[in-house]
Symmetry: D2
Subunit: 494 residues, 4 copies
Amino acid sequence: MRREPIGPSAAAASPGVRYPLDMRILGLFLVSAAFLCADDKSALLQKMDSQAAHYGDLSRKIWEFAEVGYQENRSADLLKSELRSAGFTIADRVAGIPTAFTATWGSGKPVIGIMGEYDALPGLSQEDVPERKPRVEGGPGHGCGHNLLGAASTFAAVTLKQWMQEKKIAGTLRFYGTPAEEGGGGKLYMIRAGAFKDVDTVLSWHPSDNNGADLKSSLAILSAKFRFYGKPAHAAMAPDAGRSALDGLMIMANSVEFLREHVPDSTRIHYVVTNGGSAPNIVPDYSELFLYARHPSMQVLDGIWERILKCAQAGALASDTRLETQFIDSAYNTLPNDALAALVDKNLHLVGGVTYTAEEQAFADKLRKTLPDATRPMGSQEKIQPPTEGKGGASTDAGDVSWTLPVAALGTATFVPGIPAHSWQSAACAGMSIGRKGMVVAAKTLVLTGMDLFTDPKQVEAAKASFEKRREGHEYRSRVPADQKPPLDYRNSK
Amino acid sequence: MRREPIGPSAAAASPGVRYPLDMRILGLFLVSAAFLCADDKSALLQKMDSQAAHYGDLSRKIWEFAEVGYQENRSADLLKSELRSAGFTIADRVAGIPTAFTATWGSGKPVIGIMGEYDALPGLSQEDVPERKPRVEGGPGHGCGHNLLGAASTFAAVTLKQWMQEKKIAGTLRFYGTPAEEGGGGKLYMIRAGAFKDVDTVLSWHPSDNNGADLKSSLAILSAKFRFYGKPAHAAMAPDAGRSALDGLMIMANSVEFLREHVPDSTRIHYVVTNGGSAPNIVPDYSELFLYARHPSMQVLDGIWERILKCAQAGALASDTRLETQFIDSAYNTLPNDALAALVDKNLHLVGGVTYTAEEQAFADKLRKTLPDATRPMGSQEKIQPPTEGKGGASTDAGDVSWTLPVAALGTATFVPGIPAHSWQSAACAGMSIGRKGMVVAAKTLVLTGMDLFTDPKQVEAAKASFEKRREGHEYRSRVPADQKPPLDYRNSK
Amino acid sequence: MRREPIGPSAAAASPGVRYPLDMRILGLFLVSAAFLCADDKSALLQKMDSQAAHYGDLSRKIWEFAEVGYQENRSADLLKSELRSAGFTIADRVAGIPTAFTATWGSGKPVIGIMGEYDALPGLSQEDVPERKPRVEGGPGHGCGHNLLGAASTFAAVTLKQWMQEKKIAGTLRFYGTPAEEGGGGKLYMIRAGAFKDVDTVLSWHPSDNNGADLKSSLAILSAKFRFYGKPAHAAMAPDAGRSALDGLMIMANSVEFLREHVPDSTRIHYVVTNGGSAPNIVPDYSELFLYARHPSMQVLDGIWERILKCAQAGALASDTRLETQFIDSAYNTLPNDALAALVDKNLHLVGGVTYTAEEQAFADKLRKTLPDATRPMGSQEKIQPPTEGKGGASTDAGDVSWTLPVAALGTATFVPGIPAHSWQSAACAGMSIGRKGMVVAAKTLVLTGMDLFTDPKQVEAAKASFEKRREGHEYRSRVPADQKPPLDYRNSK
Amino acid sequence: MRREPIGPSAAAASPGVRYPLDMRILGLFLVSAAFLCADDKSALLQKMDSQAAHYGDLSRKIWEFAEVGYQENRSADLLKSELRSAGFTIADRVAGIPTAFTATWGSGKPVIGIMGEYDALPGLSQEDVPERKPRVEGGPGHGCGHNLLGAASTFAAVTLKQWMQEKKIAGTLRFYGTPAEEGGGGKLYMIRAGAFKDVDTVLSWHPSDNNGADLKSSLAILSAKFRFYGKPAHAAMAPDAGRSALDGLMIMANSVEFLREHVPDSTRIHYVVTNGGSAPNIVPDYSELFLYARHPSMQVLDGIWERILKCAQAGALASDTRLETQFIDSAYNTLPNDALAALVDKNLHLVGGVTYTAEEQAFADKLRKTLPDATRPMGSQEKIQPPTEGKGGASTDAGDVSWTLPVAALGTATFVPGIPAHSWQSAACAGMSIGRKGMVVAAKTLVLTGMDLFTDPKQVEAAKASFEKRREGHEYRSRVPADQKPPLDYRNSK
């Protein structure tokens, strides 16, 4: 649902700096000499290169499964099996969700988490070719690259675990298998179930068309389905005997349009009519409107939402129909973490960007021609973008996690520059070598960052301080109704 | 307000039959020989001809006063003075209204009433010439001919009183001076004050462009002003801080439009925006919508009104503003009375229609040319239309009276055929000889009908039986809020 | 689509008169002695009783086929086979429609037609039991009794043909197999193809819950799908880059609501939103509104339709989207034929109503309890309703036929009194003995009326005179766009 | 109209720095030693103190005149007379506007202008007391302090002229008397008439609640009255015969609401219904909507305006009415000038802020209590705010001037801190000593800045360079229709 493209329009294209290799090594010495031997990191990066193909295969399998939210059974099983084999202890069916799990290794403090997602998007089935060609007509596909996400995070977790074991590093490492990011809000229910309670810091990343630590915030979102129940009647013979559920919906929608003038700038309200009556000659006794509201601040959004609810009630009142409001989803705006962004940025520069082969370059060129207004320049995949503030247009359930504890966020160039997420083009990238190269950059950066956090308590402290400063005393409060169970079938209804 | 034109579209133009004079005399013998000497009626009609000029002058004076509803002080005084001189006892300030009064003569049963109105309409000031020429620019005028109405009813009352006195007829005769028929609802408050409590039958008439006893029903009406109160804010600097009263009004209006599909045929809902905000750069904190709803049945209208109120509440709810609803006016649909219509029809045929002089004919021709689509043919003023059922498009507070006791209703050709009421053309007619000829037809018919009712108890019984049959057990209930005082200043605000 | 219930609210329940048998015979002598021996009719009625079971079976088969409009292949084949066996010449694929056909016998004048329909309604699959029980979940069913319609008309055609052959009656008899009456407008295309060109009079009937010749008019109808094409954009990231097709639809719909005040009474406009956007986070680039407009007069409806088209254009203009209007269906209001109604009424009285067995009575009682507000009384199925004028709330493509030549129309009690068409209850009746009894009444009445028309040229002349008088010079003009082909797949899309 | 408050919310309250006197002198030496003797400035400032009372009186007279836009006859005459006496040559009736004029002295280059306004605002009549007390009930008042504006600019012009004459400074000095800034757009017509053609730089200032050179931009604005013409009809008798002008307006307004989602952030669209029909029982044949649209960029606003016009056309199309669009006003967003802002800032620091007497302090305290949420702190009137970028919420016709040549802009604390413009509170300040103190600060700063520009060609060059850089090649194009005359009566209609 709300994992929208982080495309060219959503990120300024400032030229990243590429450090020459020796400079990188030097950087390692200068920055982390005090607590971590630069050789450790170098060695681990080399080791990861040798295992990249295995995790690339893993990502390809999940790409082929292409399972939508809360139905990622085979995808989750694959990751669980991988982690179990590596020695992690699996906690299954977290929050009562069949495809949510955690995989833990080690003990004691600090507790560092790594999040992985693996759900696909409806309608985006696509072969790994640079023209539109669905694998299964109308089927789901990995347009947001979550196949890479889950695989890279697993890659990072396993690598870190081996390093910790080898180096006898204290602390607890935990992989979070978080399903249904695309509108199902898996993380919300995992938070509610207490799965993040004891964690100090969480590492996350997301496929993108460029490389950069993330300081941007997403939009807080609330969404619901508004259902009106009227009274049917023959529309020609006895229209006065009917109570039109469609009228209720229309009046609500009109009212929402009038509301637009009186909400703060940067508010977004958008809706579709998912049921607008069945037959013209019957006064509709049922209608449904599906609405999202967003704002850069959840606290502000609460006030806007209250007014939207009143518009819905007004629709029912004026049309003499009954209203049922079904909460669908919510997500906080993500709370950036300055300390973690700096750490990630540093490590990302150590890892470097993505270099294409001639073949990949040809694929990229061809793909970009299908989106002629792609603004991000070719070649930017090789660079690192500096972390910059700003608000994106997307929303994510990782936002909720970011208001409960410090979260590191990162994007890597899994998609050809200029290719937005949630497109068949991104789905194609996610299934071939370009996507896999980007995922390795992510996995490596997560590993280096995890190493820092496990070995330098000050980094964890700094992350916590950044977290406290940014949230300004606001206590996280889930917007999910207390009695709402995870909408495990939310992908069936539409 | 709702005293709308009873124009060409409101009455079928069936050719009336004119009885030759001798046939009329014969008819008198045949029909009323048992209880009333035909000579009585003939004599009285002749006597009335000799007094017609006096009452014509009276009507002209009121035409020149041209006083709007609840401000008809000089008009009411003139009629009271006339009736007082004739021996009637005046009850002044009925229902606390300065220009409402009754004038009573005689005692005992039956009690027969005659209603008279005398309020003018804003904006219809007009000379008695066949082209548009206001006497006072923008001033009020007698576009509904109520100057004739009050004068003819007074004429009838005085004549009947003299006849009763002379012939020693038992019973009570009462003139009702009913102000502010045009939207002020004078009669509603007089009913509430008990002014009609002891009456057996009421005679009424109304200026028209043709002659006929009235079996048609008017439309029941309810009207209110819907006022929204919001919160002002600078519309460019802080529109989100404002709560728009105009939004409230717009959402209400939109909702009412959706309602139209779901009300019975023949419903009418119409409104204007009487205040839509003061300046574009301020979020409006006040707005006002003035709405009428009508239907041939007050009982059905009640249900429609309830839904309109919900639309108004929805407007306030959705816009986060406060709603105040001010009841303005109501009127029942008129309940036709079959027995009285037959009686009036009979007497109207005795009286005959209106014959123009050459001068009047020229005036009429010229006037009709200003309304080229006048469908009622010239010459029809000389004829009597048969009483026919049907629903008109107008509303009147006489409707409320008609649900409390039997009311006789009559129209006479005071306006040139094809000239609708509420026009400058009808205002012109009401001030010259054509209007005065029509008013004499009315006065005479009222007198003859009054004679029948005073001398034949069976006629009163028949009227009561017709009343009971038509109302089908429905008990009159005023729609005026119990605590509402007559809106004496309703003509000042607009 | 628009073959709506001719239920209790659509016909006044005046008590029909049942003539005693001998009186009927007498009537035959008195009325038709001059040209037709009463024995002929009596004999034929008896003969039909002996063949009723066969045609009942036919109707049951079509009921089981339950094929929707333009897909009535097996149903049409069954009727064609029956008519071919009886000696008729089949003209197949009339107007290029696979399931439209004519079956002709005889030659010369007069040419008398009988129309038969056989399409089912989506969603009304039902067993022949008095509680809701679909034969196929969600499948189509004969809720309008067209299985009976086609079978009875075939029964009448075959019977008439045998009589003509036996009695050497001159003239041409033609059965019209008219598909897709329920919204597909089969007859419109058959008219356009010239199939009714040489016909003098057409006989038609329709299942109902009572017996009576039809003088009522249906509503003229026009319908279209309004499709808006916008420009997609991410609704959170770049809503200003999008052009919302849903906005276009909403503005059109709102505009139509405002139009409601300014169309004549008895107008009906109703619509549903058949596509209101796909996902809330995308500015919808496509939307579709499906709208019907109706009025008792096609000529008046034309003017209303023009304004609706303007509302649609306004929606596109204001939202900067593109509009495509797809004509879907049209039907004239039916033009009653006074002469034919009198003839049918006479013959219907000869035939008599429907008498239930105890079992049928029990079925009827049980069925009526599922619709507790059924107003038509039990027992009325035995009676004949007098032909009365009026406008129903339904529409039919038979309306178009009725403006091109004289059409006789008839309803018979195939449904339990009080059971409206287009219900599972009517679908149940159409599959069991009650429906079959009603269809025999229809078949018999059609036969008797056909006999009259074939043997008495004056009856045909009278029918033509009635036709000319009612249409008042209006020349039939199909509202189907000239280049529009029959919408053979109209039942697939929804 | 659109001279909206530049109140506390529109400007960040950063603490200004007050230089000690000796530092100021030092500054003079350092900065302008090369071309201007610091003593010159000091001397002139002292001389101005001695003449402040005279110009204060002038401002008070104009405050008492309180003449609205294009009716500022006495106000303009007073200023013209003052300037004529001082030796300026008056050009009267510029652009055909009775109250627009220029006053020129000197010759040759550079040509430096000073702009002065003098129109009052409707409804803001107020005594110079700290509670709401109109001088004339409902009358106009100087809520935007334009009485001070015109007087201070005149003060500056006369002072500069005397200095130029005395010091034999080359160049041309021109005072611009620009009427009807509040919605009449006087400057637009003066530009069109070529009045600014030969000018190098224009100095302007505006009353405010704080002191600071202005780098902020105002909003571009376009406004129009949308008039719909329908066809009247009796709303109960023949609503279908009417064409509702109110419907046209409502559909337009609804459409504009749907547009809101699809315009860029920071767009403002606001409207009021200035005529929503006259009487509920008549289908309105006339309606009027008055709308403003604004955006930080005129070029972007053009595109938004085009869509608003389409919404208006859609209203007419859907309601079958006729649309007339009357352009009312336009203004470019102001183009800040960095070089001039720096120069003004420098001189403003030389002049210093406003110091209150105890009496003034008491007045200020009392006044602030009437606006309890005044955020700008007391005492800030003594300080100088640094020039900061940003967009305000107001609009001004000075914006158009700023796109044709370099304009210096300045605000001074004529209003008590926290008091917004366009309030009775600001009107009170503008009539008493606090306002007059602020106007002296303005006059002095204009004089010092004028001295710099006349004596240092590089400053003029820098101003021009800043102008070119900011406008990025955009050529000024007036949005006033070519055939539109100044709306001299725009204050009569409302």
